[in-house]
Symmetry: C2
Subunit: 154 residues, 2 copies
Amino acid sequence: MGARSMDEAPAGWDEVATRLRARGLRWTAQRRTLVGVLAGTSGHVTGADLVERCRAVDPTTTPSTVYRTLDVLEDLGIVRHAHGADGREEFHVRPAADHGHLRCDRCLQVWEIGPDEARSLVAAIEAARGFTVDLSHLSISGRCAACREASPRG
Amino acid sequence: MGARSMDEAPAGWDEVATRLRARGLRWTAQRRTLVGVLAGTSGHVTGADLVERCRAVDPTTTPSTVYRTLDVLEDLGIVRHAHGADGREEFHVRPAADHGHLRCDRCLQVWEIGPDEARSLVAAIEAARGFTVDLSHLSISGRCAACREASPRG
DNA sequence: GCCCGTATTGCAACGAGTTGCAATAGCATC
DNA sequence: GATGCTATTGCAACTCGTTGCAATACGGGC
Ligand SMILES: [Mn+2]
Ligand SMILES: [Mn+2]
Ligand SMILES: [Zn+2]
Ligand SMILES: [Zn+2]
């Protein structure tokens, strides 16, 4: 593992404090806790999930603070969220690439729609309407191939 | 107004009772209230909205009953729902045609994506993944042309 | 190292749903 | 028109957030 590419973005969680202060925002104990939790998380997580994980680190954690901080971090581009089929928020932690979601409402599996695959979809809407799609917030429900075969009607 | 086309689907709200019973379900006072409210509603409505309107008719209305009945009616295809940007449910009452939604998160306006416009989008996903999109549940956020011009960065 | 403006927090109350359960009431059958 | 099965209701408690407000505590400036 010696030949790791040098220009890969570093973890970068340490820059968060700086970026907050640069905007006149503050680096508090509560934010340190949440950012610590996020640094140890990958993939998609629920807001409630994050509250719970913060509480594991600091039992005095309050939900409103966590949700408010998530809003701030989303402004900074550090997290993104989309919504599950029930509308609940799901956060992506430092998504490698911008992506949308495809979810089967029968087997509940989720697939990511990468930027390449999304390109034509996004371009079509852009062309027809001048509307810029927020890809990371996109969550498409339906039925996957396997489930459709399993129960054509139902 | 004499020359109304004859084959237009009739209001059809009266069939609801029959369709419920055909499935072994029941036609209750509470369901009569909700269906009455729906018959007098068009476009998109929130669940909470519907609870409120039912209460105007029958003050003893209970939220859980309304939401449970909406689920049943959705099974019957009488209503459909999608989600607002905040994830809250929004119902379409007897949508004329299956359609998706485009919503600008700056001006909060909503546009419908008709079946024709959606066709290519849906077909692309179907072709690439074998995934069948639930168009009426689709809600795409982003920024409309006007808002993008108004504040290119922001 | 202290001051002070203001960003942030915690609390409490609220809003939108959801769920388990015991009581009620459709409705199909006789 | 009465009976019985079971779908449905209402209640209460719970989940996931959101919001207003007074108290707290960052952190830039001195
Ligand atoms: Mn939904
Ligand atoms: Mn959202
Ligand atoms: Zn599936
Ligand atoms: Zn707009």
